[in-house]
């Protein structure tokens, strides 16, 4: 990349950030980012756990939005790839003594490797058929995780692997914050550049995007594999966060929870993924005392969001203030 292109890139980012800071969503995000730097100063114990979990979910949901919202590939295999990342990080740490920080990123790579054949097989399918094929993949991975007891620990899950940073939760928090921050920023850079533009063109009309000379198949494969690798990294972080990884994280139910967060926020933007995760996960934490009935709320949120706020919270905010 020469200097001229680089200056254009920087200029574009500067303009885009300046534009966004004038919107309500942008200001909310800025407040969020600043707050996130100081979280460990105010809280300890449980609240810190909530904050770590929130950051990890933000990475999963934004990367799902990246695939489902930008490209229009409504994938159901994201939670399963998140789980593959989790198992990978845990097994690498326990069996091969791979340092955790390195293991987290290797987990992303492994999820990417798993997602490549899936991405290729999805190329000729559209709409609902994409969802069906990815559900089949997700279920195969789920049952395989239960069946392959020798590798995954079977139904009870995989635990007892080395902890990260000697179990220091504040260090873990900052590690997660930096990782998620960097990866969300990379998604943002993709989104505001040519790549994001082509992705949205593919969503609106693949034929038109193709006729303008874009190799849409390559864009779709790269987008799917990249989004999936981020789910893998998030899974790796999750393994070190909760210190056990078990088949329920691969289940369709987990996928639907991620989808609910993305859809409530608005799947067509990164900020939608972030705000949706904060709102829905926050609401679920508030509702913790009602126990199992929370799953009822998940369902209601999905229905209300899709019927009344098809563009999500971010889209509705935009409509209201502009």
């Amino acid at each position: 990349m020469n200097i001229g292109l680089f200056t254009i890139l920087i200029e574009r980012i500067r303009e885009d950030v300046a534009d966004r800071l004038e919107t309500k969503t942008g200001q909310l995000l800025l407040i969020g980012v600043i707050t996130s730097l100081f979280v460990p100063l105010f809280t300890n114990g449980y609240s810190l756990d909530v904050a770590i979990q929130l950051l990890i979910f933000i990475l999963v949901v934004t990367s799902w939005n990246f695939v489902a919202g930008y490209f229009g590939i409504l994938t159901f295999v994201h939670a399963a790839l998140f789980g593959i990342g989790g198992y990978s990080a845990a097994i690498l740490a326990a069996e091969f003594a791979v340092p955790g920080v390195f293991g987290v990123f290797t987990a992303g790579l492994i999820a990417a490797v798993f997602s490549l054949p899936m991405a290729l097989s999805l190329l000729n399918l559209r709409g609902a058929y994409v969802s069906m094929l990815t559900i089949a993949y997700a279920e195969i991975i789920y049952y395989a995780a239960i069946m392959l007891r020798g590798i995954t620990g079977g139904p009870t899950g995989y635990s007892g692997f080395p902890v990260l940073f000697g179990g220091d939760r504040v260090a873990l928090y900052y590690f997660v914050l930096v990782t998620v921050g960097v990866l969300v920023t990379i998604q943002y850079l993709f989104a505001i550049n040519r790549f994001g533009l082509v992705a949205r063109a593919i969503r609106e009309s693949e034929e038109a995007a193709q006729m303008l000379g874009n190799n849409t198949r390559r864009y779709k494969v790269v987008g799917f594999v990249f989004g999936s690798s981020l789910a893998g990294v998030a899974g790796g972080l999750q393994a070190f966060n909760i210190r056990i990884i078990s088949p329920p994280v691969l289940e369709l139910q987990q996928m639907i929870e991620f989808m609910a967060m993305g859809i409530v926020g608005g799947i067509r933007s990164l900020s939608g993924g972030i705000l949706g995760t904060v709102i829905v996960y926050g609401l679920m934490e508030v509702l913790r005392p009602i126990g199992g009935a929370r799953l009822l709320v998940w369902g209601l949120l999905l229905i209300v969001a899709i019927v009344f706020f098809p563009k999500g919270v971010v889209g509705s905010l935009k409509d209201r203030f502009s």
Partner: protein, 291 residues
């Protein structure tokens, strides 16, 4: 050692199982074929049928009445779902995806509201009869035979409805070309709502018929739904005949395979088969036979 007897036994079990699967799968594929909705709440409706029917059974002790109540309640559930949740989405550009999400939400709502009201406890249901026939060491449960016969009768009635009635003609026309159908004076919203109701009533029928086998609890519909889902994808989404063939074939394969492999491996095989069909020929068996 696998004896011929065991093989025959598993084939009979598979055939019975195929009838049950077909009952779930036919309704699922019907809604897609006519109204272009993948109803993810189909398993939830199965569960509603199981609860409402088993309550009637406990109250009146009468199976025909229990079946009637289960079908009536789930028919209404289907019509209301179409009118309140699916219809408002119909003008959306990505209607197929929006309807997947809204029915997923409904599935969660149905399952977890029942869990809230009745807890996760499994309720046993007394079978229609406990009689068992033994022919040459092969055991045939009369209850399951009756269930099989009722399922076949229900599917046959559906075929007759689609083929010989005016409403069936409207259904076939809407599946072919909704705009032209509308121009011909067919009330499309009503056709969609009734199709939804018929489809969910079949799921409700399956729910009450299988309640003696599976018991009744909030998640009871999940596994039948996943299996029906695989069947429909392999049979060819929207093709009722393809779905029937796939239901019987898959049920036989699964029952025989269970002699050698665990339930998890059999699910991996089925989902793997489904993935291969989707990749190679997304229209499934129906794409081949419905030319």
């Amino acid at each position: 050692m696998v004896t011929i007897g065991l093989l025959v036994q598993q084939i009979i079990n598979g055939l019975f199982f195929g009838g049950q699967l077909a009952l779930m799968a036919v309704g699922f594929t019907l809604i897609w074929g006519v109204a272009r909705v993948l109803n993810f709440a189909h398993g939830g409706v199965f569960m509603i049928g199981a609860y409402s029917g088993s309550f009637m059974l406990a109250l009146a002790g009468n199976w025909p009445l229990a079946i009637l109540v289960a079908m009536a309640v789930t028919f209404i559930t289907g019509v209301v779902t179409e009118a309140l949740l699916v219809r408002p989405l119909r003008r959306r550009e990505e209607f197929d995806i929006a309807s997947i999400i809204v029915t997923l939400g409904l599935w969660f709502v149905l399952e977890h509201s029942m869990r809230l009201i009745f807890s996760s406890e499994q309720r046993a249901v007394e079978p229609i009869t406990r009689e068992i026939w033994v022919v040459q060491n092969i055991v045939i449960s009369v209850n399951r035979l009756i269930v099989f016969v009722i399922s076949v009768a229900a599917i046959a009635s559906l075929f007759a409805l689609i083929k010989y009635t005016k409403f069936g003609l409207a259904i076939r026309a809407a599946a072919e070309d909704d705009q032209t159908t509308k121009l011909m004076g067919v009330n499309l919203p009503r056709t969609y709502a009734l199709t939804f109701g018929i489809s969910t009533a079949l799921a409700g029928l399956a729910g009450i018929l299988l309640s003696p086998t599976f018991a009744v609890y909030p998640a009871v519909g999940d596994r039948p739904f996943l299996l029906a889902f695989i069947v429909v994808m392999i049979g060819g989404l929207g093709s009722i005949r393809g779905t029937l063939i796939a239901a019987i074939t898959l049920a036989l394969i699964r029952s025989v395979a269970l002699i050698w492999v665990s339930a998890e491996i059999s699910m991996i095989i089925l989902f793997g088969f489904m993935a291969i069909v989707l990749i190679l020929s997304p229209r499934g068996i129906g794409g081949v036979i419905d030319q």
